[in-house]
């Protein structure tokens, strides 16, 4: 059990950005490990929304990643991207594409800073337009996600 209850802070530094900040009660090499190791990612990435069914990580510049989640409601959600910069254990830059809307490419810069044995994780997510950024927030992996998945399913069914 975690002894700290820190909530993630979300701010919007610019029209096309989302900044997520969260503090962890651990040195950063452990946060890095939890953040980049496939079987560990599988345990947290889904949050409360479902079960992570697949995690592929090829952690090298130009390497790709792909995470798949089966949501509690039964539908599947997948994201993938490419690693652009890796400096363990402090900085990771990767692209992020939601496969339900692949035209909206995000660039996520994750930074880990350590102080007194605690680590602050920041994720700066940058999108090609404000519309894409807003859509990411709207999805929130909650109701909006369900709607877009339903829409996607209908399209898929119609293509059969």
């Amino acid at each position: 059990m975690a002894t700290t209850t820190n909530s993630a802070k979300v701010t919007l530094p610019a029209d096309t950005q989302i900044l997520i900040t969260r503090e962890f009660d651990a040195p950063r090499h452990l946060v890095w490990k939890a953040y980049t190791t496939p079987d560990l990612i599988a345990r947290w990435w889904g949050g409360e929304h479902g079960k992570v069914t697949s995690v592929e990580v090829d952690l090298r510049v130009g390497g790709t990643w792909r995470y798949v989640l089966t949501a509690n409601e039964g539908f599947e959600v997948a994201f993938h991207g490419e690693y652009r910069e890796i400096s363990e254990p402090e900085r990771l830059v990767n692209t992020e594409i939601y496969e339900g809307a692949p035209e909206g490419v995000g660039v996520v810069t994750t930074t880990l800073t350590e102080s007194d044995g605690r680590t602050t994780l920041t994720q700066l997510c940058e999108y090609g337009s404000r519309e894409v950024r807003d859509a990411v927030i709207d999805s929130g992996m909650e109701s909006g996600m369900q709607e877009s998945m339903d829409a996607l399913e209908q399209v898929a069914v119609s293509l059969r």
Binding site: A8, L12, D25, H29, K33, A34, L40, G47
Partner: protein
């Protein structure tokens, strides 16, 4: 109207708070009403620049203004900000849910590292979630 098209970049609260200096002004005003002079001093910016930012904040309804004698006072109006907070809340909850689970993973890693006396190259298997 050309002026409208140009103004569109700052006519909503989302855009107005995107500018770091304007967020600083809002932070100061969160502590209570301030005169322009006080804001200029606290921010270390020129008065015309501060006035420019205040004008933008006023246009989107984030600040209210009051004149008293020769002084002009500004105070925060949180309503437009609350709508951002409301909009962000589900996303923030989703992220929090994710990082709360990460806390558990990290707590385990920490315990393992302490057991191994600082040797962290072995990661225990068999820790079923939940």
């Amino acid at each position: 109207m050309a002026a409208m098209a140009r103004a569109a970049t700052t006519t909503d609260a989302f855009n107005a708070v995107a500018e770091p200096r304007r967020r600083e002004i809002l932070d100061l005003l969160a502590g209570g009403e301030r005169s322009v002079t006080e804001l200029v001093e606290s921010l270390g910016l020129s008065q015309p620049l501060v006035s420019k930012h205040l004008r933008v904040l006023r246009e989107v309804g984030l600040v209210r203004v009051r004149d008293e004698g020769r002084q002009r006072f500004y105070r925060l109006d949180g309503k437009p900000l609350r709508s951002i907070a409301t909009w962000l809340a589900p996303f923030e909850r989703a992220m929090s849910g994710r990082f709360d689970l990460m806390d558990d993973v990290i707590a385990e890693l920490k315990a393992q590292e302490e057991d191994n006396d600082g040797d962290d190259d072995q990661l225990g298997e068999g820790h079923a979630p939940g």
